[in-house]
């Protein structure tokens, strides 16, 4: 039994189903990556696990707890962190205020968590007083990840964290994500850059039309000729 698991998820945004008995799971300290062609339901699968759309069938388990009925807000309180693909920072607020807002539900002193985030992303410490809207794309993503880490989640979900950033910045972000995973957090992400993402993944899910097509370790998927031919461009 995995730490976070979306089991046989079926559902959509009202109307036709997008997910068809799709199963995604991730362990603590591991990185799971969802890849697949456009419109395969990658983001939808992740949003379903975060409670942003209702499931007709299937369930979501976090640890021993069935969280299928919880709202996204309650899932944050239960220990899930979510980084949306777009509009994932408060652009008019400073970097530090963004992190403070991430910790909004915490009543205790969160200065140590903020220090950890600054250790992970040193550039943010330098720019802590600058509005997040004035930062570069890669730095913004760091703010977004940092904001989600402020609740000290046990699961971190990232919706295309490297969308629109340069290859160098992408490599750096993946390095940071590996560091986060090393602290024992389960990481689930959806990625367009499938090859690079699978290279750091402990587990990969290839979705096609809302169903699981291939599930294996990242390494094995990269080596699988069928996956290479169909989804990784040879």
């Amino acid at each position: 039994m995995s730490f976070l698991i979306g089991e046989a998820m079926t559902g959509g945004y009202g109307g036709a189903d997008i997910l068809h008995s799709c199963t995604i799971a991730v362990e603590k300290g591991e990185i799971a990556v969802i890849v697949g062609p456009n419109g395969a339901g990658k983001s939808t699968a992740m949003k379903a696990m975060f409670g942003m759309l209702g499931l007709r069938e299937g369930r979501v388990m976090l640890g021993d707890r069935d969280i299928t009925a919880l709202s996204p807000q309650d899932r944050v309180k239960a220990g899930m962190g979510f980084v949306p693909q777009t509009s994932n920072v408060f652009v008019t607020m400073s970097v530090q205020e963004n992190l403070e807002m991430g910790a909004y539900i915490r009543q205790d002193d969160f200065s140590d968590t903020m220090a950890q985030v600054f250790d992970l992303f040193p550039i943010l410490k330098e720019k802590r007083r600058q509005p997040a809207g004035e930062l570069s794309g890669g730095q913004r993503q760091q703010v977004a990840v940092g904001r989600a880490l402020m609740t000290r989640p046990s699961v971190l979900m990232l919706d295309e964290p490297t969308a629109g950033v340069s290859p160098i910045v992408m490599d750096e972000l993946f390095d940071r994500i590996l560091e986060v995973a090393a602290t024992g957090i389960a990481i689930l992400m959806v990625e367009q850059n499938a090859r690079q993402a699978l290279a750091i993944a402990d587990r990969g899910y290839v979705l096609v039309q809302g169903s699981n097509r291939f599930t294996d370790t990242g390494e094995a998927l990269l080596a699988n000729p069928e996956v290479r031919a169909s989804f990784l461009g040879g």
Partner: protein, 334 residues
């Protein structure tokens, strides 16, 4: 030299000081409008009548206090009644939100639906105020009238022209500075204030961060109603209270909020002064000022008759929307 000083005194007395007070009153009103827009995302047309409602309660309490023999000495008794007026306006704003706006929030209605609902609220509030206090002019400023009198100023300076600073004007400026400083401190540094800014910036992310939208909305109404009452009472002390005038104040207040950049508190203040000074400078007859400067103008040298002062707000509004729709401080586009 003396001519220049006299010209300056006339200008200060009839343009600068009245403009300063009027600007502060408009700015306080526009702050409420801009906060409601930033958080609730609609233009609240009932703001002028919320001002009237809070002011009306303040006036009734003022009369009652005076009847009981309680006054503030040289200061207007209305300042003592102001907290009660604020509480009344806050209660009314929260009641309206509960009865009207919450319904549309749950429906996730379009912005225009909220605006239309607020127009309805405006008429109802307007009716309530007229039913209770009547449609006529009410004066409720007691205590000293002047901080600096014309005669005192003349005797002190030896100039031909006198400068008067009426007490309500001085109170307006002082209260406005205190209120604005407190509001900015709150928005900038308090936990709730930051949550409000976060909610205004990115509603979805604010919800993801666990910010309680109901609480943010409630605090916004409390602040908006308090600001509306303070602005209304200051305006009433400075001039007089008449329900219809307060309804009309909506125009310069909206102009100010939009000129400054709607959703931007700093912009509301800048916009308030831009609108107020435009109104005052364009409708003042400069004959006397020019005479002291050595000119012999034939007419009154008045650009616009005072009847057109609302037209000035309109023109500013249109110009801003045409040239820079985001306003001075880059607010949202309506």
């Amino acid at each position: 030299m003396e001519g220049f000083l006299n010209a300056l005194v006339v200008f200060a007395n009839f343009v600068f000081i009245p403009g300063l007070a009027y600007g502060a009153q408009i700015a306080l009103g526009a702050l409420g409008v801009t906060l409601v827009f930033g958080i609730l995302r609609f233009s609240n047309f009932a703001h002028g009548d919320l001002m009237a409602f809070g002011t009306m309660i303040t006036i009734l309490v003022t009369w009652w206090l005076i009847g009981m023999g309680v006054t503030l000495g040289p200061l207007p008794t209305a300042l003592l009644a102001l907290p009660v007026g604020i509480i009344g306006a806050v209660a009314m704003a929260l009641l309206i939100d509960r009865l009207v706006f919450r319904f549309y929030r749950k429906q996730k209605s379009a912005g225009i639906v909220f605006v239309m609902a607020s127009v309805g609220v405006m008429f109802v509030l307007n009716g309530i105020v007229r039913l209770i206090i009547g449609p006529n002019d009410q004066r409720f400023a007691d205590g000293e009238r002047f901080l600096v009198t014309v005669r005192g100023f003349r005797e002190y300076t030896g100039l031909a022209e006198g400068l008067a600073i009426r007490l309500p004007v001085a109170i307006t400026v002082i209260v406005a500075v205190i209120v604005v400083a407190a509001l900015f401190w709150f928005l900038q540094y308090s936990r709730t204030g930051k949550a409000m800014r976060a909610y205004s910036d990115n509603e979805d992310l604010a919800l993801l961060s666990g910010i309680n939208p109901d609480r943010v909305v409630m605090v916004t109404w409390i602040i908006a109603a308090a600001l509306a009452t303070i602005a209304g009472v200051l305006y009433g002390l400075d001039k007089s209270f008449r329900p219809f005038t307060y309804f009309q104040l909506l125009l310069p207040i909206f102009a100010a909020a939009i000129v400054g950049g709607i959703g931007q508190p700093l912009g509301a203040i800048a916009g308030g002064f831009v609108v107020a000074f435009s109104e005052v400078t364009l409708t003042y007859a400069y004959k006397r000022v020019l005479e002291y400067l050595g000119f012999q103008p034939e007419g009154l040298v008045q650009l616009l008759s005072t009847e057109y002062k609302f037209a000035i707000s309109f023109v500013i509004l249109v110009l801003v929307l045409l040239i820079r729709p985001t306003g001075i401080f880059k607010g949202r586009v309506l």
